[in-house]
């Protein structure tokens, strides 16, 4: 099955990004396809390479970058939400790209299921 993912919360404060990541990993392991992961609202904060969590904690941002590198998952950050929150091209972690909300709607159209991970 082809899944689209929407993440509406930032890293660490909410578990949404963790849950979405665990879902993506499990789905890929079962042979499913992740069409796109779209980051909206504070979810755009998952995309900054300036993140430096303590050593003994998971690195949420790097985890997404690795998923993109290993499985070619398309990580898209909403431009309007990103600019509001100071997320720009020059601070994006590897694998992320900034684009418009149309990418979310397109994912809803093209994927078999669109899953929302929020508060």
């Amino acid at each position: 099955m082809k899944f689209g993912i929407l993440i509406n919360e930032g890293p660490y404060t909410h578990q949404a990004s963790d849950s979405a990541y665990q879902f993506c990993k499990a789905a890929l392991a079962k042979g499913h396809e992740i069409h796109r992961v779209f980051f909206y609202h504070d979810g755009v904060d998952n995309a900054t390479r300036l993140t430096e969590p303590p050593q003994d904690d998971r690195n949420i941002v790097n985890r997404w970058s690795k998923l993109a590198a290993d499985h070619g998952v398309d990580l898209v950050v909403c431009v309007a939400a990103a600019l509001r929150r100071g997320i720009k091209d020059e601070i994006l972690a590897p694998g992320f790209r900034i684009s418009g909300l149309g990418q979310l709607i397109e994912s809803g159209i093209q994927a078999d299921r669109l899953l929302v991970f929020g508060d």
Binding site: G100, L101, G102, I105, E106, G108, I109, L114, V116
Partner: protein, 124 residues
């Protein structure tokens, strides 16, 4: 018919108060973009989301943008299916007359059935 293929049924579920968090405003931005994709769009308002449509928002005092006029513009985007949950209205002492746009009031059970029929549910 959209250039992206078959038309899907999209429902946007609005559950949050208009201010206090940014969900209502940014969700409205999704709806406006989505209008360009020629999909079958429905908006549902429940829980504190019904306050998004409560007439007479005045945001000057809190220095936030009053985006309520945008709901009245939805019609220009051919978005006319707005449903408000009956139970959410009643528990807040509101009626359809308090809404700033024409809405259809649906029971929780009816809304649930409508959700079942959707292809894509976006809950904010």
């Amino acid at each position: 018919m959209s250039e992206h293929g078959a038309i899907k049924k999209f429902m946007y579920v609005n559950r949050k108060a208009p201010h206090g968090t940014i969900y209502a405003l940014e969700s409205l931005e999704v709806v406006l973009i989505a209008a360009a994709f020629d999909q079958d769009v429905t908006l549902a308002f429940l829980d504190d989301g019904v306050y998004q449509l409560k007439k007479g928002h005045q945001t000057k005092g809190i220095e936030l943008k009053n985006f309520q006029p945008t709901y009245r513009a939805l019609e220009d985007y051919d978005i006319t299916k707005l449903y408000v949950e009956k139970e959410s209205l009643e528990s807040r002492g509101l009626t359809a007359d308090d809404m700033c746009v024409p809405v259809e009031v649906k029971s929780r059970a009816d809304l649930g059935r409508m959700m079942e029929e959707q292809d894509v549910l976006l809950s904010f």
